[in-house]
């Protein structure tokens, strides 16, 4: 192959994920990890200690303590992210997550064809989340909510603080703690599957786009081609640039 046609891109640094979004993201990763690990233990405690004596032990107690402490952080972190969806930059905006415009659906459909069915065509490149990713995060937030409702609902009867008591209606609505716990348990699997796919897709985008996707959640930067600016090609549903063209580009 000849080298003559090599097209060297000029890249511009774009601040995509602001610091609060990044802190939210990694705090969320940390507490979710803690919640899943402790959740598994609560659901099915390992038989590691069967031979131990009972004196001075509080293993399940600590595990539950970590679960509840992480749960509080998780909940308020989540609330913070919702707040940031209203005051943060355009890539953090709540509009990124809700499929409420034709454009959003169009983009989701396009991402589906290009990145899942692997059809040939002009590549789709977005700067923030692409529409499909935004929608999946929206679903994730819904499951966050389910976990908080069922979790605090279960916690309500064991707590004397008013805050968890606010959720006491959840098990009452579901008809009791047994079903509430089951829902809480099933929902955990959503996160496990989500994380596998999510982390894979982060690698994937880094690999096929070459814009620094992997590191973007670290420093906040992505590196966007000069052309994208000159031609005004913003794939991300952009409230401030509604006139931005619809078609996919390369």
């Amino acid at each position: 192959m000849s080298d003559t046609a090599v097209h060297i891109q000029r890249l511009r640094r774009v601040y995509v994920w602001e610091k609060p979004v990044r802190i939210y993201h990694w705090l969320n990763v940390l507490v979710l990890l803690a919640l899943v690990v402790t959740g598994f233990y609560i659901a099915n405690p390992l038989a590691l200690q069967s031979q131990h004596e009972a004196t001075g032990k509080f293993t399940m107690g600590w595990i539950r303590y970590i679960h509840f402490a992480a749960a509080y952080i998780f909940f308020f972190n989540f609330l913070f992210r919702i707040y940031w969806g209203f005051v943060g930059n355009k890539y953090a905006s709540w509009r990124q997550f809700l499929p409420i415009s034709r454009k959003f659906f169009k983009e989701m459909w396009y991402v589906f064809r290009m990145d899942i069915l692997m059809l040939k065509g002009r590549e789709h490149m977005s700067i923030g989340h692409n529409a499909m990713a935004g929608f999946i995060y929206f679903l994730t937030f819904v499951v966050f909510l389910v976990q908080c409702l069922t979790g605090f609902g279960l916690y309500a009867s064991t707590s004397s603080w008013w805050f968890p008591k606010l959720f006491a209606w959840v098990p009452a609505m579901l008809g009791g703690d047994i079903l509430t716990r089951q829902v809480h348990h099933w929902a955990m699997w959503f996160f496990i599957l989500f994380v596998v796919i999510h982390v894979y897709l982060v690698f994937y985008h880094d690999y096929v786009e070459g814009r620094g996707e992997m590191s973007s959640m670290g420093g906040g930067w992505k590196f966007i081609e000069e052309e994208t600016f000159t031609r005004g090609h913003h794939q991300t549903p952009n409230p401030e640039k509604a006139k931005a063209q619809d078609g996919p580009v390369k």
Partner: protein, 377 residues
């Protein structure tokens, strides 16, 4: 004592206690015990005594539908003899298929009589669920369906008590596939009459007595939780008052029945104890005159007072069966399958990416290599 000749002014409870030959001391002992169970303050004991001394007994109609009578059994075995003798005995029951002396037309007349004479005064106790399939023919008494009987009796009742899991949640006869459409009574009763649910299979006798004494003493229904159960008895999980709880907190569990840990009395969580999701007073009041309760006997709680407890998964397993995926599958089995499938899908996608997007990746690499070359000096 016959029920059909109702005296003009019914005797008070205390008069009946005396007539039955109990001493004042027995009576006070009974009141103190009840007050303690109901979680009343000491100062309220006098109030209870006064009420039982002065108030005429409240007429009670006790209906039996789709049930096994274990609630009645539990009630008459409750620890204090006065419970059975006075509260439940012929004295207080104007109609109860199981315990009344009258039968046939006499019995029907007695019920009718009570309903007319004490309109808006009598307490309606219901044991059992109501089948609604096939117009209710699965449970008929005296030519009427249980639905009709319930509607008639509830219309003018002061309060309705749903005894046990059958009347409160449907219990075993409402388990899938529920051929008779067994329905708990709060779903068939018209709103308006206050309803107290006292779930359990059966409920604890002292709890049942406590509910009745509360109604008699205060003339109103006890404070209820969101699911309509008296808070005094159903606000804590069995787990919260379980004497094995320290083993749970320590992480020490029975792995299988009859293992070394079972002998040591460790927590029964891993052999299916539903105590952590079951609201009942078993750990505090216990059964058979406070002798023991299932967990004390080495068996996990089966969650008998919770909704759908027959469909809530297996009795000896923590993880519940997943409806529609065969009885063997639980959430974790399905999760593992889904995880494996996700792994395969991700791997397939990675391969497809390298094939289908070969040119794109190749160009990126080429561009990168070119830049690398230009940096060489």
């Amino acid at each position: 004592m016959s029920n059909d000749a109702l005296p003009k002014l019914p005797p008070t409870y205390y008069q009946e206690v005396e007539r039955k030959g109990y001493s004042r001391r027995d009576f006070l002992g009974f009141v103190t015990m009840m007050a303690a169970f109901m979680g009343l303050e000491k100062s309220a004991i006098g109030q209870v005594v006064k009420a039982l001394e002065t108030k005429p007994r409240v007429p009670v109609i006790w209906l039996h539908f789709q049930e096994c009578t274990c609630c009645s059994e539990s009630f008459i075995r409750s620890s204090h003899p006065i419970v059975a003798d006075i509260l439940l005995d012929k004295i207080s029951l104007d109609y109860s298929e199981t315990l009344m002396a009258a039968s046939g037309f006499q019995a029907e007349a007695s019920m009718k009589n009570t309903m007319e004479k004490y309109k808006g005064e009598y307490i309606l106790c219901v044991e059992g669920s109501v089948p609604t399939a096939a117009d209710g023919v699965y449970c008929m008494i005296g030519g009427k369906t249980s639905m009709q009987i319930l509607e008639e009796a509830a219309a003018n009742a002061k309060a309705v008590i749903a005894w046990g899991s059958c009347a409160s949640n449907g219990c075993v006869q409402s388990a899938r596939p529920n051929p008779t459409s067994a329905t708990p009574i709060h779903k068939v009763l018209k709103a308006g009459v206050p309803l107290i649910k006292v779930p359990g299979c059966p409920p604890i006798g002292e709890v049942m007595a406590g509910v009745i004494v509360h109604l008699v003493t205060f003339g109103k229904i006890p404070e209820l939780d969101r699911l309509g159960r008296p808070k005094a008895f159903y606000s804590k999980r069995v787990h919260d008052s379980c004497y094995r709880r320290p083993y749970y907190d320590a992480g020490l569990f029975v792995e299988s029945f009859d293992d070394e840990n079972a002998k040591k009395g460790y927590c029964l969580y891993k052999v299916g104890c539903k105590g952590p999701s079951t609201y009942n007073a078993c750990g505090v009041m216990k059964w058979n005159n406070g002798t023991s309760y299932p967990i004390q006997a080495g068996h996990g709680c089966i969650g008998c007072s919770e909704e759908n407890y027959w469909d809530n998964g297996r009795l000896y397993e923590r993880a519940s069966a997943f409806a529609g995926f065969g009885i063997e599958a639980n959430a974790d089995d399905l999760g593992k399958v889904a995880l494996a499938a996700t792994g395969v899908a991700v791997a397939a996608h990675a391969i497809a990416t390298n094939v289908r997007k070969h040119k794109l990746i190749f160009n990126l690499e080429k561009e990168g290599k070119q830049s690398e070359k230009e940096l060489e000096s």
